[in-house]
Symmetry: C2
Subunit: 123 residues, 2 copies
DNA sequence: GAAGTCGCTTTCCTTTAGGAACCTACTATA
DNA sequence: TATAGTAGGTTCCTAAAGGAAAGCGACTTC
């Protein structure tokens, strides 16, 4: 808590840092992407579509996304229990942001590859 | 290396993941932001403007940004030595992306705050 | 002669994220 | 009886990131 306060004190000069922490921490964009592509779905469906995520981490990320208001969780007290996850309106408002990133990626990512090769060639 | 390959196998379904790794890994946006705000500058100037970064990490990040083609490094063999860093054209092409993030932040970040409070209140 | 400047590098240490494997209660199915 | 499926929780462990502090070479300043 105190550490976070000190860090943010220096990082607040970068106004996009809160959004980065929110949206671009590990696994959050893949999860949101899967939810966007395949709509409302259950825990195990998400897990199957993200083959390398462990259930522990998936739970952690989904809880965080739920707390941040980006994912809605619906619990059905059936047997066996059923839980469904979906993007919220707030998360949907991020879609244009993602599209901007996809556009940049398509336009410029190969330049990054070139730069890396050039850098590595030059030792 | 092998691990990275396995990970990307499952994360490539999220097409913005390479950009996220590139631009939104820790400290990269604050560094780019400082370079954008204050233009071409020296190592110690960046360090002073990011009070909590350690020189080791700043060096690591600058090298990575240089390799990725986002930052240009100019070395002057004077005594004491002088080094200047600046954004490349490639990095400047990211500015609209950053602005999209700032816009989203201004429009929606308070909703995230509200969602967190609501979640925490509900235990 | 001591200290400061610059752009790092090196070493050591702590923190943290994340993976693996196992566990839960309950039921339907084979 | 055994197995599978449901949505996770728990424990243990390791790899990696990152911070703190010291040092370096070559020179200038006090």
């Amino acid at each position: 808590m105190a550490k976070r306060a000190i860090v943010s004190q220096s990082l607040d000069s970068c106004p996009i840092n809160p959004v980065v922490d929110l949206v671009f921490s590990r696994w959050t964009t893949p999860i949101l992407w899967v939810l966007r592509l395949h709509g409302r779905q259950r825990f195990n469906e998400i897990e199957r579509r993200l083959p390398t995520i462990s259930p522990k981490v998936l739970t952690q990320r989904l809880r965080q996304l739920e707390r941040d208001g980006l994912v809605a969780r619906t619990y059905y007290a059936e047997i066996p229990p059923r839980v469904e996850y979906e993007m919220t309106q707030l998360a949907l408002s991020l879609v244009p942001v993602f599209e901007t990133l996809v556009d940049w990626s398509e336009a410029h990512l190969h330049e990054v590859e070139q730069a890396r090769h050039a850098y590595d060639e030059a030792i």
